[in-house]
Subunit: 409 residues, 2 copies
DNA sequence: AGCCCATGTTCGGATTTCCGAACACCATAA
DNA sequence: TTATGGTGTTCGGAAATCCGAACATGGGCT
């Protein structure tokens, strides 16, 4: 009935929680049970994998379910919430449902009916019709949607994003999903190409080989003006092939500086797909890490059985400025250096060992972070303490105290 | 408070209905009272004029309010429904709210609070003589008064305010309310114009086309001195057209710096209308958001039923430096990314979800530092919690708590 | 079994931190 | 001149955090 669904249960009552847990697992769901609000908060906010539903009691020892839901809404799009409660008020029910909660049920309730409602409500949300290539985060899903939409159109596409985010994969995927999928797909990496002009337009070049397929131009910002103009012209003469281009975030700056033709930009950016950086979607980072591990570990490090949870946590925290490429590089290096039977954080991030942060006590580390953050905030506001305090979300007086403590004034 | 609102009251109890009727009419609403379901059904389905809200009892002699609502839903989109009931059930409340009712209140209730919620929830559909273009706040009303006064005079007007506050709408409105409304209204956006001089004075330019109508000069601060002088001169020679100008807040600075003619300033600022920033009048921000939602949601996001109260609260808090333009842009983006059936805060403010390295709150920065430090310590001790705690100079239990908080286990 | 040791977990109180109110002070704008 | 708005500073209570004690658990060792 609920096979494979990942459900979070938040319930402090042992009996109630136990029976729910049992029943849900019987139905095939993977359930994680929290008895306190703050624990559930952390787990839902940074989930190991996407959560399909949250079943949440209202009365909790360290808060209430409403609070939990509201807090989540501030920073993220929460998964579907079903509230169950013993002392429910109509007022509260109305408020929660209007805030987007999926259901609100009073105890005691009929378990069979409850499960039926649950399966009705939750299942349609999750239908992965094809294996995810970019990631599992909601942001990645968003991009996939855009990709699908781009595939069904026939306009030129501009894919934008930092390095190592799979812009080439996206282009390939658009081609494969489009009705040109039977025709050739040719890619040119402008950053590597010696002679871009001939690689694109020459005999045996991209357009030549593509026929009425798709031409993918990676790093379009590197083109010099003459080739840009030829490309613009190519659009006008209606080449047979469809064009997908990719570039980093700096194209506007290039246009501003007059190094990139704004006309070409508008031609090629009929559809624009922005790929958010990997650091902004930690779920994808760990997902990718696990995927690559599965693929690479058997050959390269036969002894390794898995990745330690700590290591995954560290990966979730890391910024990954190099995108997927960095994930792969670090993993390869880590696999070579791993000693035990699981991959440790120091394998993936050896530089953190040498860091001076090492044997600092927690309080010191915390203070150091506070200090730099405060300095940054004060810098941003030009020394305006009140404003800086607002930025840091603390009271003005508290900031003043801290400044005194750190000797800033 | 409820001036001009058309409200349908469905209530069989004489006392209750009478007191509600009395009170609502006291507040300025036009109320029609039905005591039976089938009568109300007919009246709502084929209304004389648009109905702003329905206040509906559940228990009725010939049926119940839910039935009434559902019947209406099948044939049309009903006006906002507020249910009031004596023997309400949570089950029922949840069902009704999920199917789109605006509120569900149990008797007895506090009349004052009820009226407040009513006025908050219900937005006047159309007030034909006076559709508010700027907002509903007292500040916006103030501006409207100034607009009306400006329209009745014939002096040049200077409209001032940040971007996206509808300065163009104000100019248009002054024109439409003035006795030049039959003559042409021509607008020039000086920020976009290549050749301001000819766009204003040239053949086919604003003055030429306006005749004895109104000329609107947006972004007057961008004019260079020669054109300023020509404009000043135009005032002296008494052109036929009336001039309305608009600019940001920086005009005084320009005058100070000698880049703007103070004489022209005094000429054009005979009447000065200051539009306060949207961040200073939160009611208008949410009002505008709701207006735009009503207009845009049906086309762009058919599944969406409304805006979550949390989201409205977030909108009320936001600064809206981009004015109405920002409201619109954020809404459009949010509609595209919304997942559930209501718009969530993270849809409208995705940057709070993935702030690219920007300004973290102090607590976040501190937590991040703690987390990495803890991971490093645990890594060093090979996962030995007690040892790691000693390294970090905190109690074992404290470390355990933190590990829970950060989801490490 | 019996013991040892580390962990998982709760609890109550000690301590620290945080906040808001309040007041004095000093610019600067009206 | 008077408002106004930001800052420096103090203070008391509220809230969080931290800690140690305590107890159960469970795995490894003899």
């Amino acid at each position: 009935m609920l096979d494979g669904l990942r459900i979070v249960l938040v319930e402090d009552d042992e009996i109630m929680g136990g029976s729910l847990l049992q029943r849900l697992e019987l139905e095939g769901a993977q359930v994680v049970w929290f008895k306190q609000m703050h624990r559930a908060l952390g787990a839902i906010r940074t989930p190991q994998r996407t959560i399909d539903a949250v079943i949440c009691d209202i009365a909790l020892p360290d808060g209430n379910g409403e609070e939990l839901y509201n807090t989540l809404c501030q920073t993220a799009t929460p998964p579907p919430f079903l509230f169950i409660t013993g002392q429910g008020g109509i007022e509260q029910a109305v408020r929660l449902i209007k805030s987007g909660a999926v259901d609100y049920i009073t105890k005691p309730f009929d378990m069979g009916a409850f499960l039926k409602r649950l399966s009705m409500l939750v299942i349609p949300a999750e239908t992965p019709d094809f294996p995810p290539v970019l990631g599992v985060s909601s942001a990645a899903r968003q991009v996939e949607k855009l990709v699908a939409r781009a595939a069904s159109s026939d306009e030129p596409v501009l894919v934008r994003g930092g390095p190592g985010l799979g812009k080439d994969l996206i282009a390939r995927r658009i081609h494969d999903l489009s009705d040109r999928c039977a025709a050739p797909f040719t890619a040119v990496n402008l950053a590597r190409e010696e002679d871009p002009d001939s690689a694109i337009f020459g005999a045996g070049g991209a357009f030549d080989l593509a026929g009425d397929g798709t031409v993918f131009l990676n790093g379009i910002g590197r083109l010099d003006r003459p080739v840009q103009d030829r490309l613009t012209e190519a659009f006008e003469t209606r080449r047979a092939a469809r064009v997908i281009a990719a570039c980093g975030h700096d194209l506007e700056a290039l246009i501003e500086a007059g190094q990139f033709s704004s006309e070409l930009f508008y031609r090629v950016a009929q559809v624009e797909i922005m790929v958010p950086p990997l650091g902004a979607r930690p779920e994808d980072a760990v997902w990718l890490l696990e995927q690559l591990f599965k693929k690479l570990a058997p050959q390269r490090a036969a002894g390794l059985e898995g990745i330690s949870p700590l290591c995954l946590a560290a990966a979730r925290d890391h910024d990954w400025p190099g995108g997927g490429r960095e994930v792969r590089a670090r993993l390869v290096r880590g696999l070579a250096r791993a000693a035990g039977n699981v991959l440790q954080p120091s394998d993936l991030f050896p530089e953190s060992l040498a860091a001076p942060h090492d044997q600092m006590s927690l309080a010191e580390a915390r203070d150091a972070a506070e200090k730099t953050q405060i300095i940054a905030a004060l810098d941003r506001t030009g020394g305006q303490i009140g404003e800086a305090a607002k930025l840091l979300r603390i009271a003005r007086t508290t900031l003043w105290e801290k400044m005194q403590k750190f000797g800033l004034s």
